[in-house]
Symmetry: D2
């Protein structure tokens, strides 16, 4: 990695891309807030769903989140079009259990407010609440990365709210 | 970190220490195998509980696992005796939600066979099956790290078995 | 991530893909061995360059390494062809300093034999010895991921050899 | 980990502890700023040493940094007094090359502003500039964790400044 001093990171374009690609798969930001609400409500009974929605928007402006999310969403999209080289194409298309790059990118998102995000990400990745459950079973489209990304964003928001109220 | 060329890593002593400290808290290796069995049985219907027990023993000989486990178990033990400096003593004793070092050490264990271990660790850390649930509620002893360590070992074994049968 | 029980991970095809793509950019496995030799020779004076070359081949059969390497090499290749969506295309093409996904994938490789791999990876990423220095300055081709991947493989081999001789 | 709702995280006490323990080993915050300045000056020629010093203070108020630093500094201190159980005592006292918990805690600090922090941490851990070089050779005191912690804080500051100026 060489730091290119003259390149300005496109914050707005990156945020818009991630929001647009999530929406194209039926994921609205309030769907992510609902997942975090489900995770944290018993710990933070005073926080409203609107508080969670605001934090989802805030958290989604972090570059590290946007970078990991863009890569994951791009790979799902390319795999859906059959544009990845083999054997990566078939590994992603089959959501191979020992692939792990989806979990790696998701962990980078989930831990943005500390390693406490890891357990919430792991939990929703297995239990697939709300919109995550729908993504995982969505027929012809390849959704290998997006379910992990959505769960990780929800976990990052949970981490941030835990810190805020600690 | 300076690599001390003349110091031989004490593999046997480290393994014995971790097994002994886990047993002192009521955790037998077969209890860990039971957690992994619960996680993986639906994916690997042919693997027996004895297969899982053998893999727990194998996995627990990895130095990276032993190093993280020794540190976590040591910190629980020192905190139980009140021997940590403040405010670390009270942070560990209260299992502060925003501490995160327990999750950091556990993640180092859970991912020994790939990042796929992260989700299983996160899941058992929240659902607290079998022996993990007992650790978390054990009264006067401080068990801030041990529940994460046990869950992470179970997750590492799940990762290894997933690779073996992939 | 859903574990697809019927999909067999394509170990041979994945290994062949990574070796072929590295060679297409002028990276032979012995070039990676030379980097590790440079890192470890003072700690392990008895290990020969041939020992390192053998370990590079061994290490490169690990699926976690292959998965991260395939994704990184694929992204460099797609970016070279201009096939990524904006703004990811320009972020990768400019090797933006705050991107970080290259470091994330590389860390997943570097730590395959423990977190001790992180420091060797970081060191060669900055000092760019041997083939890494040539990759970083290679004109029209986009090499945002490959230099990190090569450095991380060299660091993973260093970690494995450190354990072997510990 | 159970989130204890009634325990308030002791932010001020944690910050004061880390600053005090670093100073007890001869590390002032401006020494950390000097390391980051050395890393980043060529990329950010307009930032002054005073800018770096201000960011060190800011960064050191992050709980995740304080938590990892407290644990590492505590372990060095206990090992210096011979208060760790065997074989952990001798592993830490000898700074065993395959231990890795020092790198794990340091990575948790270095990546607080993104995975780009990993390479700077790795680089200073090997090259040992400024105060880090003095820590590593300090005779009778055990400094297994502190050099990694200092290097990781410097790397985290570098990551934050890279984002600020990106």
């Amino acid at each position: 990695m060489v730091m290119n001093k003259n390149y300005k990171y496109p914050d707005t374009a990156a945020y818009d891309y991630v929001v647009r690609e999530l929406e194209a798969k039926g994921v609205q930001l309030h769907n992510i807030a609902e997942i975090t609400y489900g995770l944290q409500h018993k710990f933070l009974p005073d926080a409203t769903l609107a508080d969670y929605e605001q934090e989802v928007v805030n958290v989604m402006h972090k570059r590290e989140l946007l970078n990991n999310a863009m890569v994951g969403l791009q790979l799902d999209k390319l795999a859906t079009k059959g544009l990845l080289d083999e054997p990566l194409q078939s590994i992603v298309a089959n959501d191979a259990g020992v692939f792990g790059v989806d979990e790696t990118l998701a962990s980078g998102i989930a831990t943005l407010w500390g390693s406490i995000g890891i357990t919430n990400y792991g939990y929703v990745d297995r239990t697939k609440p709300n919109i995550i459950g729908q993504l995982d079973n969505s027929g012809d489209k390849i959704n290998t990365f997006i379910d992990d990304i959505v769960g990780a964003i929800a976990a990052a928001v949970a981490g941030k709210m835990a810190h805020k109220y600690a």
